[in-house]
Amino acid sequence: MEIKEDRRDGVLVIALAGRVDSTTAPTLEAHLGRLEKDSTRRLVVDFSGVEYISSAGLRIMLILAKRAREQQSALALCALGENVRQVFELAGFLPLFIVKGSQSAAVAAVTGV
């Protein structure tokens, strides 16, 4: 799994690539844990490069969602492939997130908050 960080219109964009599973989830969790609280006021997670996500990855997304809610920060996900979307849907996770098709739409969604 690759993790890329980008800043766009004051939004931190985290782009993931590869597989988000039990073997890579600890790396992602550690990476997200190192982010300064101020830098995640507006956060987008881009899934366009993600091959698949398992429950180990969902667990981290749940932590992010809970943290965003506690800190009243804005979080959006974007570019979920068919398989990733299916896994989110099966887990009942779609209602927990703002989900957009493109990164631009996700950035716009969190800057408008």
């Binding site: 599973d21 091959e51 398992s54 429950s55 099966l90 887990a91």
Partner: protein, 178 residues
């Protein structure tokens, strides 16, 4: 006069009529997946490093067979759930091993995982409440719910002091309605 055809001699059958080169079905064409079959077994330690090795192997194996992306992703997601479950709950002290058999025949991918840990049927893990509000969400049980949903068939057996989970995926079923 009785004619005895030369070919009727037993030795004529067993020697002269046997082709020198055995013909194999052509599996080189990408459109011939129905006719392909393959089977491989790998044994990995019941650790996260072993899970990574099994995932890499399954990914490369299914890619080499040219299986559709949709079925590969369903299978690899499911595989991660069952493997990580075995490592987390099943095998104590990290000394155990997991045996993975990958098989493909007649359009069906089959993944069989056996481990020598205590009896543990992952299919008995209760399903999570996927409609609960975010405050009440816990990740537990999600993995097995995904296994049930993503595999076309999944079964558990306890056999000769080993746990065996078998998952089947139809390669050509198209996208499933959720």
């Amino acid at each position: 006069m009785i004619r005895r055809p030369f070919a009727a001699h037993p030795r004529a059958f067993t020697t002269a009529s046997r082709p020198l080169v055995t013909e194999r079905p052509d599996t080189s064409s990408p459109g011939q997946k129905e006719g392909m079959s393959a089977r491989d077994t790998l044994t990995v330690p019941a650790t996260m490093a072993g899970v990574r090795q099994a995932a890499d192997t399954a990914s490369a194996w299914t890619d080499r067979l040219g299986l559709p992306v949709e079925v590969r992703r369903r299978a690899l997601t499911t595989l991660d759930e069952v493997l990580s479950n075995i490592v987390r709950h099943g095998v104590r002290g990290g000394a155990g091993v997991i045996q993975m058999t990958l098989a493909y025949e007649a359009g069906v991918l089959e993944i069989e995982l056996t481990d020598d840990a205590d009896s543990f049927n992952p299919l008995l893990v209760p399903a999570p409440d996927v409609g609960a509000p975010i405050e009440d969400r816990v990740p537990g049980g999600l993995g097995i719910a995904l296994v049930r949903a993503l595999a076309d068939e999944v079964q558990y057996e306890r056999d000769a002091n080993r746990n065996r989970v078998t998952m089947r995926f139809e390669a050509n079923r198209g996208t499933r309605d959720i």
